[in-house]
Assembly symmetry: none
Homo-oligomer: 227 residues x 4
DNA sequence: TATGAATGAGTATTCATTCAT
DNA sequence: GATGAATGAATACTCATTCAT
């Protein structure tokens, strides 16, 4: 395993960097918010190499010191942004699928649910595609630790639960493997679809194709109804 | 397009950096080879942040000046490595599918050909997974320009040709879109399967799953034979 | 043992920092000379906290990069200066005492030799007392490693040899201990004498007093001749 | 005098920084005590570079603001600690020699008194050698101003008084010079003896050697009785 | 008074790139 | 062509100090 020298200090990245202090007061929260907002903006405009803590601080209208008051290092900014993104995706998923505990309430078939999910995620990514590009394509090496982040785990588990709910419709035998295929495929294709140059078609068509792909794999037939 | 400030000079990266001179003499070629080899080694051992031109030169047993004789800047090294990788993939594809001009010679069905291709690519990636990890996961922002690289275009076209050859078996209507789905899916899943932590199963099983996914999408059924 | 966080990096100081490359060509040597000269000047003018590598480089008329080409870090500059000082003291000692191998050639008694040595060292320190102040008083924590430097060892050994040569005149039993007392006393008193506010008397008188002190300890009587 | 740029503000240090307010209430005194205690602890554990006001405040269980309520700047903390040390040495000296006003009461000869003093100081330094190491070796540039501190003056004067009491036994003519030699020698050798790597012998033997050195200088013979 | 969040100047070090030899 | 010494802009991070609450 390569020790990815990601920040200046060549120390091996110790799992997920956490905010230095959990902000409780509203002022602190606003500060953290402003810092993350500025990070997102700078990241979007200048990419990874062009992003530096001093600039982020300036853009956020705070001092560098304040940035370091809440984030132990530069990577923590990116990680926080990543986490926030994962949380948004998780929320979008919950909205699209409902909570797993409320199973049975949702009587749609697997394909319909997949369509909802893909739709919701595509919509969420269209908000700030450039930011996601940087976050997901320039720093996927944050994915390894991020995969162990609770939010990412949550996403994976929800997908797994979805497959379990519909296990009678699901063709692939190994649910673990099927979950992996699902998550990898959805993430990469949704990003590829949204991020320039994007898919060679409308977002709707791309979404449709992704659903076809997934449903074809899971249910053994790509099209809902083949005459 | 975002001007990714990747090299020291903040100038927006103008498409693909090309080798400063195409070396014709064998000595030059050996030099370029040594430099790229060293780049690959350093990249594998130390990741992106740990890679720098001086170290590459040292490892290659050349002076920095010589590196800059053949590569206009640091990014050109990585781009060249990426191109080389794409070329290898292209060659593996040719071996697996045969040249498109020799169509008709290969009488296997689409699924069999897909299986060969996935097999070949998985095998090719297992040779130096760490290098691919860095190349594909730390620098996927090269992907966009790389998509415009001739080699990548070649891969895309070969896949497109494959779908055309089997257009009778292919369910999706839009061949352009189908090609896009194919390429994106294969690339991301193969990388995900090979790069740690990898797929939650054997490489064979992962390959099988990828083929199932692709064939399900293209042919309308995931399993070769469903009774 | 306390890990003295001396440079910015909190890493434990690994014995003596060595120049990054041993300069062979005259230009390099001149560069190193200029850098050390500048370091000495800055150190003298601004003390430890006021000394920084960028300023040193500027004063030396070179770029920071060049400083780091020859010295791995800031401390190495100070260490080099310290070493150079020790070497000067060693040379002054050789001149005052003669080489130990040529024993017998010098027929003076112990007290005379001590007087020569003290004299020589006082003179050497009067050249740049402020520099020595900083070197010896602001950074004596460099002494611990420096004590293991070959030059400092050389000084200690020469003193030890001197005591051995005159073992018949020397009262204290333990030569190891006597050497320690000698070295510590000479160093601290000479520095104290030269560095402002210095001794409450002329340099000559101070030197005389130091010789009295040492000779009194070693030979059992402070004055050369007490009637 | 060199303007040692020791605190962040580059202003030349104006002699001795004094506590901002002399605390009269017990709570204040306790606060000051806690702060100094914490300073000593941090200094001992982390050395000069590792010591910072925020950490000191935290260790003291106070806010930084409170530190600055009683100490105008960081150096004042160290100066106060140094003063406290000097005071302890002064007290130890009083205990060993008796108050100078009570002269005549102590009928011991000079050498005995010196032995007592050296003994007492060695013992005092063995309590927290690391702290003294930092205090005396990392910051001896405080020595110059410290020499002007009342407590240090007190020590000097007491030594001077001692020499006067025994002026009949004292060989060196200039009492001012003799005092200077005494103070410098005792301080540096006691520190050298206690601070690692220390003297190449037991503390007792080192103390004995120091007394021999001083007595030899003052009284003209190193050993109490030479047959 | 006490607090501690906020400040921001300051600094060691790196590394892509150049160019005189 | 090849070399590698020299360059110097760039940047993460610290910490003494302030001041609104």
């Amino acid at each position: 395993m390569i020790p990815v020298a990601n920040s200046r200090s060549d120390s091996p990245m110790p799992s997920l960097p956490q905010p230095r202090r959990i902000p409780r007061q509203s002022r602190s929260r606003a500060l953290v918010e402003a810092i993350l907002e500025a990070t997102a903006r700078v990241l979007t405009e200048r990419g990874y190499a062009g992003t530096n803590t001093n600039l982020v601080a300036e853009r956020a209208g705070v001092s560098v010191g304040s940035v370091y008051q809440y984030f132990p290092n530069k990577d923590a900014l990116l990680t926080a942004l990543h986490e926030r993104h994962a949380a948004e995706m998780h929320a979008a998923m919950e909205r699209a699928l409902g909570s797993p505990s409320a199973a049975g309430a949702d009587t749609r078939d697997l394909r319909s649910k997949l369509a909802s999910l893909v739709q919701a995620w595509l919509a969420a990514h269209r908000v700030a595609p450039e930011l996601h590009r940087v976050l997901e394509k320039e720093f996927p090496f944050f994915d390894a630790p991020a995969d162990q982040s609770p939010t990412d785990q949550g996403i994976r588990q929800r997908i797994r639960a979805l497959l379990d709910e519909h296990r009678s419709e699901v063709v692939p035998q190994d649910p673990e493997l099927a979950t992996w295929v699902m998550v990898q495929t959805m993430e990469s294709l949704i990003h590829a679809a949204v991020i320039p140059p994007g898919a060679p078609c409308s977002a709707e068509a791309a979404g449709q194709a992704i659903v076809d792909l997934l449903a074809g794999y899971l249910c053994g037939q790509a099209r809902r109804a083949l005459p």
